[in-house]
Symmetry: C2
Subunit: 313 residues, 2 copies
């Protein structure tokens, strides 16, 4: 029998790619919970998934899914804030992310759904203490977004300890690629889109900020591989294990795509200067073979170009 997976936020950036990957594998019945006004980037998915529309802030609107379906796994992709803005309204961050996730866990408990996959944040939970981060490193976030991800990790551990709900916590680096849509985060996608729109690219700081990037198709493949290997109750970094400064990314884009106008502006305090994820733990579970960043950037650019053409006609 196919496993029933409920994806909260299944039509977002990660959600759309993950849904495609899960459907490709053929072992899953996918149910998606999404906001009523979501933009569905791949409408073909509507043929293969069951969709419930509603508001994550009102648990009654998704409780019905648990009533009507015996859900095996919840993949919780909803986040109401982004790192760069999260310090501006911390109480909203707590209410909308943490409290709502506790409500979700209570509903899972009630309907005896025993598995949850939760992307935390490799980019924000560690803070600025070190350059390369292992899962066991100290965690001192410099944004509320990271604190809320970390706190949710702790509650997942607690719900496992008390109620036996199994978790798989992923700490991704910076995914980029197809179906990315937020203009507020995701350096590579934002830059490529600005190039296509012939806008000037603004870089916060001097471009020395180092990040670890992962192509979205690799990221979702790894998630599904971990689920299929039945990896449970682990916290796992998912990244490339390699760092690129913004200036290095700009050079790669220039080489692959061509030149573009650029402006450096004042650095943001919310950005940690250096972040590379140590992926040794991930390698103990899976063979990791990732797409090169040049190829990922080209693929992303081609997808953006095609999307823009489709939008025009």
């Amino acid at each position: 029998m196919k496993k029933k997976i409920l994806i909260l936020g299944g039509f977002g950036f990660i959600g759309t790619n993950l849904t495609e990957e899960l459907l490709k594998r053929g072992n899953y019945e996918i149910i998606i919970f999404e906001a009523k006004n979501v933009i569905i980037q791949n409408p073909d998915l509507l043929n293969d998934v069951k969709v419930y529309y509603g508001d994550f802030h009102n648990e009654k609107e998704y409780e019905i899914i648990f009533k009507e379906n015996q859900i095996d796994i919840v993949i919780h992709l909803i986040s109401t804030t982004v790192p760069s803005m999260s310090n501006e309204n911390i109480i909203y961050d707590i209410d909308s992310n943490l409290v709502n996730t506790i409500k979700l866990l209570n509903i899972m408990k009630q309907y005896q759904t025993k598995n949850i996959v939760f992307p935390s944040s490799g980019g924000t939970v560690y803070g600025i203490l070190k350059k390369e981060h292992k899962e066991s490193d100290p965690t001192t976030p410099i944004c509320s977004y990271g604190i809320m991800k970390l706190t949710t990790e702790k509650y997942l551990y607690l719900y496992n300890y008390i109620y036996g709900i199994n978790f798989l916590i992923l700490r991704p680096s910076n995914p980029f690629g197809k179906y990315h849509k937020s203009p507020r985060q995701g350096l590579i996608n934002v830059i490529l889109e600005k190039i296509l729109n012939k806008e000037t690219i603004e870089i916060w700081g001097d471009g020395s900020v180092v990040r670890d990037y992962i192509y979205i198709k690799d990221f979702v493949r790894i998630i599904v591989d971990l689920i299929e290997k039945n990896i449970q109750n682990e916290i796992i970094n998912i990244g490339s294990g390699r760092g690129y400064s913004i200036n290095e990314i700009l050079t790669i884009i220039r080489e692959e795509i061509g030149d573009f106008p650029l402006k450096y502006v004042e650095a943001r305090k919310v950005d940690v200067p250096y972040l590379i994820l140590n992926i040794d733990k991930l390698r103990t579970f899976l063979d990791i073979n990732l797409m090169g960043i040049e190829e990922g950037i080209k693929k992303t650019y081609n997808w953006l170009k095609e999307r823009n053409i489709n939008r025009c006609f």
Copy 2:
């Protein structure tokens, strides 16, 4: 000029002892914020401190203190939950402890109060992974109370990073002694009170649970010493560095005070089996010379006896 210290929850167990200690030193002007229905155990304090009564759940009720006084240091002793009950209503724990503390921090930011002392919880933040805990150890609480203490620590770090509010985070073990009043936590006091009331003592589990105890007068002296040494932006375990099983405590009480009726009942899942705090870090700041547990128990018992006599007449 005397420093102005605002103690939130200043008439509680820790608060009353801490207020006495601060007044003894003579360098401080003490302002206490407390609930309207608080039981004041040492009414003499009312001659030496300024008191504002109100509800911590409504920040307007203490904002006036910041308006009317230039507060130098906030000591935040209010906790709306106890470890053993906190898993039963996690959303209340989040709202009443975490959200309210963020409101406090926002008011401190607004009125430019730059120092906060916060007792976290050495007994719950670490979880069950190890026997003796250092401040740098991993933290996986098995109760919501511990998660909220830990999350508040992270936000204190964040408010220091963004707004320069200095924190002193204490992770106490199990303080016991004079002015303790909660029947829901604090093994030694609860047992001694039951002995005085000739009630049967119920022990959860087989009595093997090990804890690290500190006499309250030692605890508050250490807090004030750390404040006077201007130790800032540190997380510090405060305990005895020694462990006693419940059965060992019972033996000590029997030797010091006499025999009593006893019953063992089912263990609670919320209790970690073993907790001793490593206090090497504390020793780098202060010379530590603690009261022996036998003497602390005797003193506590004598205080309880005297209090009961005063209550009867």
